[in-house]
């Protein structure tokens, strides 16, 4: 049997963008340093694309995040499907007006007359010694804004399928890439692979505990599921893929079956995605619960720089394991 082709996350994003540009002449890319003249992007995702598709369609911008998102919105109103790169997620803060007041709301405020089919790709995640302004997971902010979709892939294949789906979606999508795992490899998907947005993936069926997550912690949970299985404990593993709109049905169905839920995310704990999921579970599956719903998250602090502090800030795989064991004990 021949080896399965594997690709890194970075290659996955690049593949999705390349396929989208080739498939649809209305797909455009814009962002800081993304052209080949500038080295194909700080993270090399867009390498080769400006040469292949021209700098009209793959355009390096000034360091002007409001102008980047605004240009993406305007072009989308004129029938284009722009993909804007915001180099680090913390930099979306300077473009919040364009994202929140305009991209997310124009469909609603126009009574459906206009839509904003843009994709905003951005990179983040702690554990890379970049300190407090280059590491935050801010997905909950955007999940709190109706009108924008928030997508976080956890495998290279999913990254291809979800990014293609974001680009083809008629609403604005925020696509969050994890910096730490960018060179991690996984099986490559077939050509023109797409995954549905708004649909969680039950990637491992189980009967004892529902473990719900997205993005980086999924790598920890996959390993934990194997080790628990060796002990005879069966985890049902749900990868949200799309954080918002949240696939509540899949979560509730699973928790009604297992009676136990552990939610894990890298973002800080308070007022986060985990809180929303826990609330949904208690609203819709209270009678089925055999243990309190557990949340695993990073600490409620700024992301620190020093390696030891940064590790102390981050959620740990062992936290997830402990939480699972506690729910099994009904705690």
């Amino acid at each position: 049997m021949s080896d399965v082709e594997t690709i890194t996350f970075t290659q996955a994003y690049g593949r999705a963008l390349d396929e989208a540009l080739a498939a649809d002449p209305t797909v455009l890319l814009l962002g800081e340093d993304i052209g080949d003249k500038e080295g194909g992007g700080v993270f090399k995702v867009t390498g080769g694309l400006s040469t292949k598709y021209g700098t009209d369609r793959v355009r390096t911008t000034p360091i002007s995040e409001q102008a980047i998102i605004g240009a993406a919105i305007g072009a989308s109103l004129a029938g284009m499907r722009p993909v804007a790169e915001i180099m680090f997620m913390n930099f979306v803060t300077v473009a919040m007006d364009q994202i929140v007041n305009h991209a997310a709301k124009l469909r609603y405020m126009s009574g459906g007359k206009t839509t904003v089919p843009i994709t905003i790709r951005t990179r983040t995640g702690a554990g890379t010694s970049n300190g407090g302004q280059h590491s935050d997971m801010l997905e909950a902010w955007f999940a709190h804004v109706p009108g924008i979709k928030v997508v976080v892939p956890s495998t290279p294949a999913d990254a291809v399928g979800l990014l293609r789906a974001c680009i083809e979606d008629d609403d604005p999508c925020l696509f969050i890439e994890d910096g730490l795992t960018r060179v991690m490899k996984g099986p490559a998907p077939p050509a023109d692979y797409r995954l549905p947005l708004g649909k969680a993936h039950v990637e491992r069926e189980g009967s004892d505990v529902s473990v719900i997550s997205y993005g980086r912690p999924m790598h920890d949970i996959r390993k934990l599921a194997d080790s628990f299985a060796a002990e005879g404990i069966s985890l049902e593993v749900i990868d949200l893929r799309t954080v918002s709109p949240l696939d509540v049905d899949t979560i509730i169905q699973s928790v009604c079956k297992t009676g136990r839920a552990v939610i894990a995310h890298e973002a800080v704990r308070s007022f986060g995605v985990g809180a929303e999921i826990a609330a949904q579970i208690q609203e819709h599956a209270f009678g089925n619960l055999k243990a309190p719903v557990k949340r695993i998250a990073s600490k409620d602090t700024t992301v620190p720089f020093a390696r030891a502090l940064e590790q102390a800030f981050l959620y740990q795989a062992s936290d997830i394991e402990i939480a699972i064991r506690q729910t099994l004990d009904g705690k």
Binding site: P62, G70, A71, G74, A75, L106, K113, D170
Partner: protein
């Protein structure tokens, strides 16, 4: 290509649109005053010539991005009054089914692509419309309106710089009405004019200041800016000086506006002045204008009645148009 020339017909055309805007504005304000309409309104009273001259020059498929004080821009671009007023009344027949309101009117059928309620936010979006035109080669131009106050927000700089670097077919139309909300131009703005800031964006950006209340001056500057954009020569920062007769919002006590200044502006009301001008030039008679005004007032009345007779938007609409694929 020889340039379009300003003619008596041009002047009459501009006056006609400006008068129509004034009639609509007064009709709407009358509805608020009488308690039929509850909303925050930012009247364009006094700024009509700018929009009318611009509208006279733009093609139907050109784009406009405007702001909360946008009634004049929307009408001049060809947005039907019924759609506007029904939106003000929050009716199902409004341009946006009552989901946007006066600060968020959209009407792509006439090229009114965005009306923003956030100062300065339209400029970055206008660039995107221009970028799309540049890629498609469709020769459309985009005019984005904003006040003098908006020239002090960061988005102004980001947008003008990008437009100049990319040589976009965008006209940045600053309607300088001398106040950003209640603060005077001088107290908020370091440069003598807004247009002189164009110099910071190099050779690709042209900066021009005109008397926006003078039809010929305004029209000529806008003609040049549009031609420049259409042939791919780049953006223009066009500053049209004007005055805001009714303050920032309907009901604004305007205590911050000196009485003499307001009196002088009212004495130079462009709607009155241009009327005198076209009569003196023998283009139309007093009676012609009276008849025109009467017809416009009837049209406004009809649009108001249309709005009042229209059904309210069904409350089930509250959760639609959030996402395209929502149930």
């Amino acid at each position: 290509m020889s340039k379009q020339q300003f003619s008596p017909e041009t002047l009459l055309n501009i006056y006609r649109t400006a008068l129509y805007i004034r009639c609509a504005d007064e009709g709407i304000r009358g509805q608020i005053r009488s308690g039929n309409l509850m909303l925050g309104m930012h009247p364009p009273t006094g700024q009509e010539i700018i929009a009318a001259a611009t509208g006279a020059l733009l093609d139907a498929d050109d784009y406009v991005v405007t702001i909360y004080r946008g009634l004049h821009d929307q009408i001049a671009k060809g947005m039907p009054l019924k759609k506007i007023i029904a939106e003000y009344f929050g009716r199902d027949t409004g341009a946006c089914k009552g989901k946007g309101g006066p600060m968020h009117l959209t009407y792509p059928e006439a090229g009114v692509m965005v009306t923003t309620g956030v100062v300065g936010s339209g400029m970055p979006i206008a660039n995107g419309l221009g970028w799309a035109s540049q890629i498609k080669g469709d020769k459309r131009v985009t005019v984005t309106s904003f006040g003098d106050g908006a020239s002090n927000i960061g988005a102004f700089h980001e947008a003008l710089n990008m437009a100049a670097v990319w040589k976009l077919p965008v006209i940045f139309l600053c309607q300088n009405n001398r106040y950003g909300e209640a603060t005077t131009y001088e107290d908020a703005t370091a440069s003598k004019t807004v247009a002189e800031r164009a110099a910071a964006y190099g050779d690709n950006m042209v900066g021009v200041t005109v008397n926006g209340n003078d039809p010929e001056e305004m029209w000529t500057a806008m003609r040049d800016a549009i031609e420049r954009a259409r042939v791919g020569d780049g953006p223009t920062l066009l500053e049209a000086n004007t005055y805001r007769f009714s303050g920032h919002y309907f009901g604004d006590p305007c205590t911050y506006m000196p009485k003499e200044e307001v009196a002088e502006a009212l004495a130079n009301d462009p709607i009155v002045r241009v009327r005198e001008q076209i009569i003196a030039a023998g283009i139309v008679t007093d009676a012609d204008i009276d008849a025109m005004k009467e017809a416009f007032e009837a049209e406004v009345e009809e649009a108001i009645q249309f709005a009042k007779d229209s059904p309210m938007t069904d409350v089930s609409e509250v959760t639609t148009d959030v996402y395209g694929d929502a149930k």
